[in-house]
Symmetry: D3
């Protein structure tokens, strides 16, 4: 089997994490998974949503968007249509849940960090890139909170990263680009912590259900990819 | 460990599938997972959404809702608020994707089946009950299409069913009710076909990431539960 | 004249009122007028809307919805369309106004009861069934409030019930089903209290205005039907 | 009993109907019921809504609005809030239904007349003024259609008019202004044709149900008021 | 060059300002620029928007709308469509900004004046008529506030008025009506204070950019028109 | 007078125009006016909006947005709020109008170019940067259309550019950054063609009206700035 991208089945795309990409946000990272480029910012606010008030815990929430022409043909602008699409909602909920698992919400105090992930160029894997980049932006924002004495210690429990795996022509492959993803039989996104623990698994049979053995093979690839992504995150944060 | 429900760790709630629950829909099932009750209807229309026209294939789509007082405290009515919440959107996308994997869309022709899952009483596991019940409603609707000569053969490739598993006080348990779910560390929903192949896996660490071993234990429980659910679906359809 | 339903001109459909239909709401009734089935719940909240604060009076409000496939052909889901239709708004305002006339709002104190009427199967007369069933759910909720010491005495002043009357082939008939309603020249919905006093009259000439004599004949039928409905409500509440 | 307005119990306010009030619409009437002032326009379009296409019949529809400061304290602008309120929806449906009963829709052919009723000053009875004025605007628009040879004969079957009646300090009174309406126990709006046939009755007990005898007294007053309104409509159209 | 309206190039239409046009608002003016007719009301509320609270300053804001049949062919009602169009938003922002420049917001105290401009008949120049009329309504409302002792002195710093100028067949012309505006190459709206100072300039090349000399000629005409409008405003307020 | 930025009164910020910034759009430019950074894409579609069909002319339209954290404090995401704000609507209409004046719409044929301007970092002057950058993206897209034989000749009539001018401490200054803009008495945005003709002028007195002499001084500065911007556009396109 030859991947359209020419990569080995277990090879990530070129990954780049550029910190301090914009100047206003407490954390701001441009993440690139090959030609997929996402701006991730982390914004700190005091206070928490109503359902958490007085609990002494903080909150992490996320929003996701794509520039209308980040894709091959122009999509409608969600702000002009007046609502976010189902895919957008699903992705931003995934990002928020994943990052909450990385943070000690008690240690965060009654503060909220809002993650914004905006795709400026899409080539497959925007949600995994977003999670991986957003975690670095979050780390920066939490660092800033410590320097500003808003929290006494670092609320970050672990880095998390995310990668996609799929079955392409029956073979498990790591980190699918758009062309590979469009032709894959299965699409799985995995979010893991640095110690190999699982934060989220979302696997979807595009047309035909897949077997436990295929699942295991894909899962193994993902683990390996995430180890590499965690290494790149640590390097960027150094 | 003692489950709040008093069930064994690997025990489903009482499951009931009542076909022909309402009279207008081509398929109409009341599904009960213990005290969780969901009305699932399958409605047949000729034609497909714009993006599929002329492809010779059909489409399955799903919508999900909860009656405002299906829950312990009244929720706002989404129709009155003017938008569906993120959780609703996420669930109805899951139901639609799962059922599409059960059907040979070519064999369906350019027809659409719309699944509606409306929760009239919620006690945990509404999405897994909805998928399990909706598959029976879908089977009925596809049967009706055959009798009406709208399709030459049955487009249903397999039954699918869904169940939740979680870690409760560190132990894997099957089919969590609301009380158990609220206190679980992990929440996983699995959709499988009759041959044990995986249609969807969605696992979420509520606060702390979980290990591969825990994942494997939960997955094993889910498989066993789905075998039983498939048996009950076949029985109902007999 | 022969009614499509085969009933006498002054004959109600089979009426069933099932209390405690769902478990969470303070009042929960399944009402059936023949094949029309509506779930009516009454939910109690402390506090009142802003325009009533500090007045020492309570409030009753109502919302109405139809499951998308409660009807012969599937309707769009209002939550997905992002707004309630004009008919929905008109009906829920009617339900709310009618029930407020049944309650001593001073005696209710600064509490709100929200009525939800959700049609799970429609066969004509959903609004009259909804009002008749909702009044029983409301009675249950107010009873619960007394047991919970939220109100010192029962705020319910009277039961109210509602029925439709129409002119079918020039003849007044009681409690029209869908087939009759579709072919009626006039459609009138009447809400009355147990003592025969009028709560709401809404009469509409579908195409041709109707005479006072026709009005009087229809009104007489409605009175008789409501006496029977009040009897069935009392029986259910016994 | 002394009415706040000083009028006799059976006395209409000063009624004025000014035709050709604005220049663009096929029919345009300023209607004044005392200090209540409503601009009613009737706009002709070829074609009918989708559900009527190919049936050979026309359609009459209506929209209603209030200028934000037509009332004592400024209301929010519905266009800015992004939705029409329940009262607006209810009123515009009433106006549309009432006017459809006045027209032979077959004779109208596949044309639509859209009625717009915009309240520029409100002092009670805006819906009855709107219906009464809109019927004159409609008559003008249908006359224009005849002159333009869009219809072979006048589709107007009858003039219709509308008036409110209520119980004020236990006494039936005709055509309530704002002050009277705010203090009335009952509010009834009646729409009738020139021959005394009933087009719509909408009676609402504000707090206490009312008796048949009270209904009859109010109805009698309304009939008398509508005879006078029809006379003024004919005078205006002469 | 002959203008379609037959007016001289530097001639305003007949301008009429009718104060106290409706009874509820603190200021209410019907402004007519020829056949363009706009109802302008100014409504006083205590308090200011959130972003100004505690600053000791007041606020002026404006909303604009057109009756659906104020125009040659019926426009959709914005309240029914569920949103205000881009042109509406642009115009109401212009009106609000312009009037804020006429008022000493400190002297207004923490009060808000809301301007509503509703076009009942459109024939070009609705925004300039609206500003010119709204300033008179605002003056009346501020006068009322003084009489009510809500402000110690008149917060109005200057009258402002607005007029359009354009290039019609290459010639600058003043105060374009609809026919002229539809055929103009350039459309400029100017708002000025009584002392000739500029409040707003908005000039738009419809198709071809215009020269500085053309700009200067148009600007000169506008100044002259605004002197006349200010005179008419003073006359109306006398 | 010393500008906060330290620039001379007639000095632009560092301007950068980076073509081919993203890969999918027919034209894609990152424009930087100092720290203001905007991604401008131009997307080509065949066909025109309904109101232009069959006229043989093309259309240019624009949409504008800001990433939520492009600003000092996070703004709400318009897609999540469900509507575009008034400022957004005003700016995108300005961008669209300005670019239409740069293009021969007949020569464009029945094609639409959609401009998207998304601000990734805001520091004042986002609309002028957007217009200046979008014109370069548009030139690229029109060039691509020629290479693709979609148009026989270049529909671009002229480059246009835009800059802001204002009065800062009574002095006219060019190209205000955020700090300067927040403290300016007047804010004017000017769009001009290469030959010095005016495309749009929008001048707003923030609090106090400004004189003709001040206007003339600002206008002169703007002209000079636009000559420089046109030079940089030509350089980028070379």
């Amino acid at each position: 089997m030859q991947r359209p991208s020419g990569r080995n089945f277990d090879q990530l795309r070129d990954i780049r994490l550029t910190r301090h990409y914009t100047k206003h946000a407490e954390g701001s990272v441009l993440v690139e998974f090959g030609e997929t480029r996402v701006i991730c910012t982390a914004s700190v606010d005091s206070g928490v949503p109503r359902f958490l008030r007085g609990e002494g815990r903080g909150w992490i929430t996320a929003e996701y968007g794509m520039l209308p022409r980040s894709t091959g043909s122009r999509m409608n602008r969600e702000a002009a249509r007046g609502k976010q699409g189902g895919r957008t909602v699903e992705i931003q909920r995934l990002i928020g849940r994943s990052l909450r698992a990385a943070v000690d919400l008690e240690a965060l105090g009654e503060n909220t960090v809002t993650i914004d992930c905006d795709v400026i160029q899409a080539d497959g894997g925007t949600r995994t890139a977003a999670i991986t980049g957003a975690c670095v932006a979050l780390a920066d924002a939490l660092g800033q909170m410590q320097r500003d004495k808003l929290v006494p210690a670092d609320p970050l429990k672990t880095l998390i990263a995310s990668v996609s795996v799929g079955l392409y022509e029956g073979q498990p492959v790591l980190d699918l680009d758009y062309l590979e993803d469009s032709n894959a039989q299965t699409d799985m996104n995995i979010v893991m912590a640095e110690n190999g623990a699982i934060v989220e698994i979302q696997g979807t049979a595009e047309a035909d259900p897949f077997s436990e053995a295929e699942f295991a093979a894909m899962f193994g690839l993902a683990k390996q990819g995430i180890v590499e992504l965690n290494r790149l995150q640590r390097e960027a944060l150094a």
